[in-house]
């Protein structure tokens, strides 16, 4: 490791959620190391132009709060000193004279608890104390030549490290787990059987998962939620499982929670939980790369895109992907095949052929009659009795008195379809009630069909 580095140490009380918090810290620096069960080290010297130390302190504090753990932070020029400062609760560091000799334990092995090294350091500290030394400053005042005669190689090495010379200390890079899973035991919570309290707890899982995803610069496309219920004799299904497949990648808590809320609400109405929930697990199954850029103060594009993704996910989950779409024109002889459904990836649709077509059409009157704004999915047979049109179907019966009859407009094509070739004479029919119908007749026959309305 280069000696002009700055290391931030996060000492976590009880070592809870160490790996998860370490993963979240990836968004600030790729150089992360762990002291198992105790602390996280971040090399922040290289990112000082992006985040200053004060900002990092605040972000770390917020992260610890999100995970519901307490911790102390220290920042120094090497991992050992930063760990010492964190232990003392002095984030910005203290003079060496304020660091006791016991700090040598951390200087000897900042990244792991080595029993053999600890014992050797303990002996060294005992000797130094017998000599009347009290703190690291006094230890540093010893001359290197005297160290070799009185102390072992360890003493020389520790002296060298504190002096700031290059050492052979290896930075054990932290590698995050492949899959993100957040679990929670609900033994301390009572009556977790209804939706609202469960959602409150699920929110914690989602928050942590999203923080870890942000650290990896990824967004979720599929995730699973599992609830384990208290086992009683009347409980039929002790494990409930939901899989969420997102049409667009999501990266924020506010976009996932409504989805979970909607799904659980529907499911619980159909099949309520038989007993209290004892354990819950959220697993991120599939992710895609997704850059979490800094917020742009001058426009809300990223926020709008997140809101769009969230809206699309909710609509697709409830209604189905085929029922939420933008339309685009296609080539086709039949009126009903003149457009197709497209999936709207972004709320900011780039100028497409449609825009170019629109620009071309602007100010130009197309050489064919106006089309009705309402088109039935399938043409409905009509009967003409004198001046009355009658629609008779299973569900309803309607009658219109004809006021005027304009047309015909012949549409034909698709000769290759044989008997299904398109051949229709379209008429625009005004009625006494003011409605305007779009009717077609099959040429050489009396068959009339209602195809649309000019509403």
């Amino acid at each position: 490791m280069e000696m002009n580095m700055r290391v931030l140490c996060v000492l976590i009380e009880g070592g809870k959620c160490l790996h998860e918090i370490a993963e979240c810290c990836y968004r600030w620096t790729p150089q992360i190391a762990l002291r198992e069960g105790e602390a996280i080290f971040l090399e922040v010297g290289s990112c000082q132009r992006i985040y200053n130390e004060e900002t990092l302190f605040l972000k770390i504090k917020a992260l610890l709060k999100r995970f519901g753990v307490r911790g102390r932070v220290g920042i120094g020029d090497d991992p050992a000193l930063s760990l010492c400062y964190a232990r003392l609760g002095e984030p910005r560091g203290v003079p060496l004279r304020e660091l006791p000799l016991q700090a040598l334990y951390d200087v000897a092995s900042p990244f792991k608890k080595d029993k053999a090294l600890f014992k050797e350091t303990e002996q060294l500290v005992a000797v130094l104390q017998k000599l009347g030394l009290r703190n690291l400053e006094e230890f540093l005042k010893l001359s290197p030549s005297s160290l070799s005669s009185r102390f072992s190689d360890l003493g020389i090495e520790l002296h060298r490290r504190l002096k700031g010379s290059r050492t052979s200390l290896l930075w054990p890079s932290y590698i995050p787990p492949e899959k993100i899973e957040e679990k929670m035991n609900l033994d301390d919570f009572e009556n977790c059987q209804t939706l609202e309290p469960l959602l409150f707890l699920i929110k914690n899982l989602v928050t942590r998962s999203m923080a870890r995803l942000a650290g990896r610069s990824e967004r979720v496309t599929r995730f699973e939620l599992e609830l384990e219920l208290e086992k009683h004799s009347f409980v039929k299904t002790a494990r409930r499982h939901w899989s969420f497949s997102l049409p667009l990648p999501q990266g924020s808590v506010s976009s996932l929670l409504p989805l979970i809320h909607e799904r659980l609400q529907t499911d619980f109405q159909r099949q309520p939980l038989d007993s209290c929930v004892r354990h819950m697990k959220l697993s991120i199954v599939e992710t895609v790369p997704g850059q979490y850029g800094q917020k742009n103060f001058f426009n809300k594009r990223e926020e709008e895109q997140e809101a769009w993704n969230s809206l699309m996910a909710r609509l697709c989950q409830k209604l189905g992907k085929e029922h939420t779409f933008v339309a685009s024109p296609t080539e086709g002889y039949r009126p009903e095949s003149g457009w197709k459904k497209s999936w709207p990836e972004s709320h900011q649709v780039e100028k497409t052929k449609d825009e170019a077509l629109h620009a071309t059409l602007n100010g130009i009157e197309l050489p064919f009659p106006q089309r009705p704004l309402r088109l039935l999915k399938a043409p409905v047979p009509l009967f003409k009795v004198q001046n009355t049109l009658i629609q008779s179907s299973e569900n309803e019966s309607k009658r219109w008195e004809i006021h005027n009859w304009d047309g015909p407009e012949r549409l034909q094509g698709e000769w290759w379809s044989g008997a299904d070739a398109l051949k229709r004479d379209y008429f625009r029919v005004g009625t006494e009630t003011g409605e305007e119908l779009w009717i077609f007749r099959i040429p050489d026959s009396d068959k009339l069909f209602l195809h649309g309305y000019f509403d």
């Binding site: 809206l311 609509l315 709320h347 089309r371 009705p372 509403d455």
Partner: protein, 183 residues
Amino acid sequence: MSSPSSSAVVLEGLRSLIKSVEKPLLRERYPFTSTPLGIPKGCLIEIVGPGKTETVAQFLRENPNLRVAWIEDAFTIYPCAIMQRKIRLHQVLFIEAKQENFWAASQVLRSGLFEIVVMSFQKQINEKVVRRLQLETEKANVSFFLLPENENCSPVPSASWPISMKLKMNATNRGISILRERG
């Protein structure tokens, strides 16, 4: 001690003074040639009668930069006709919501992504639903067009008080009558 009549005079004077100073609260509006004051933002607008969809299409043509969510329970709108009326199709999100059209409308309003919502429906809606839509529309500052399939689907008069503007299409000459306009 002042007499009751003098207090009443003073009160009346104060009221007229307040009225002269206070400006009436007016909503922002989108320009629209078919209505004198345009279409207000942040409220429900009901259009009934034959030609209602045509009126909405004309409004969208006159306001081409607005993002639109078009919700229908039974999807009968013809996108080619919309494009023919010089409306940009990519500005319109179509939602075929079937029985969940009010839920879909609520989601769209809460997203804050659309300036215009058009909802065509075939079943009568009750006061509770109308009121909820009105509150969400106001919060989102969206112009929400209600297009009932026919007069029977229109909210009953006792339930239609949250609707700020009601337009009726004239069957004979396709003109527009403003039946109600508030705010």
